[in-house]
Symmetry: C2
DNA sequence: CCTACATTTGCACCATGACGCAAGTACGCA
DNA sequence: TGCGTACTTGCGTCATGGTGCAAATGTAGG
């Protein structure tokens, strides 16, 4: 044993609320939505389409199973990336461009505020 | 069997290069870096710190094992989120604020361009 | 009501990834 | 060269998540 380790078995995966608005903007749920290549390709398909698409239409875009597409689209809707509109038995999905743009832009703003080159160099010690 | 499915067993997880700049900006690697709560808390710790931090300093911020912090920070550096600077046997990590801000801002721009409310409604059929 | 269609859900399988411990590496210093 | 410090890496374990198939659900139309 050559090293001191900290082992607090309770509360793994806690979110440390640290740096002002940055923490709330870095939502793991939103980023997880974009972290899978299949999901990204589905978003790309919807973007290329330029209109609302049904699950079946999106499924024609990619090689995975129909049910997989359904699950991915539902997850993306839950994450706030897509908007789901049900018409009869068909569900139309579309990209929430404006909301996403706003999220990423405010995240960029928050990052700029933290940037040591633009703001004065802070001396706050970590924890 | 009540449903037609497509099964192209070759090339799973292909990235469909669809909608102009959007696809290249939606890099799953970058988003995967932000998709883990522990990693996000480490980033928050570095942000709160406001300066370069060693692995040991960051490790004091959270409850996970030292080795876990080391791995997460290395991954974040590989993903382009952090900058690693080695001084002797100590590695200092800092957040690439400017680069990240630029990435997210250009992503927001690309999303705005795709937005049907700002640009003319397109009629392109998907696939 | 019955049937066809669009989508969702249950289940099993497998790959990936996060984690902790221990051992290994790299570096500075005496 | 030996020791201590700072970090990395190998390995086993466990949880999560992506996938495909089949069955179930929900919904319109005859």
């Amino acid at each position: 044993m050559t090293q001191v380790r900290k082992r607090r078995p309770s509360s793994p995966k806690q979110a440390a609320k640290c740096c002002g608005p940055l923490d709330s903007l870095l939502d793991p749920v939103l980023f997880k939505a974009f972290s899978d290549p299949t999901r990204v390709s589905l978003i790309g398909c919807l973007a290329k389409c330029g209109r609302e698409c049904s699950v079946g239409e999106v499924a024609e875009c990619c090689s995975v199973d129909f049910s997989v597409v359904s699950r991915h689209l539902a997850l993306l809707a839950r994450s706030g990336v897509l908007k789901a509109t049900k018409e009869g038995r068909t569900v139309f999905y579309s990209v929430r461009y404006a909301e996403l743009s706003r999220s990423f832009r405010s995240l960029a703003d928050a990052l700029d505020e933290c940037c040591p080159t633009t703001s004065a160099r802070r001396k706050v010690l970590c924890c």
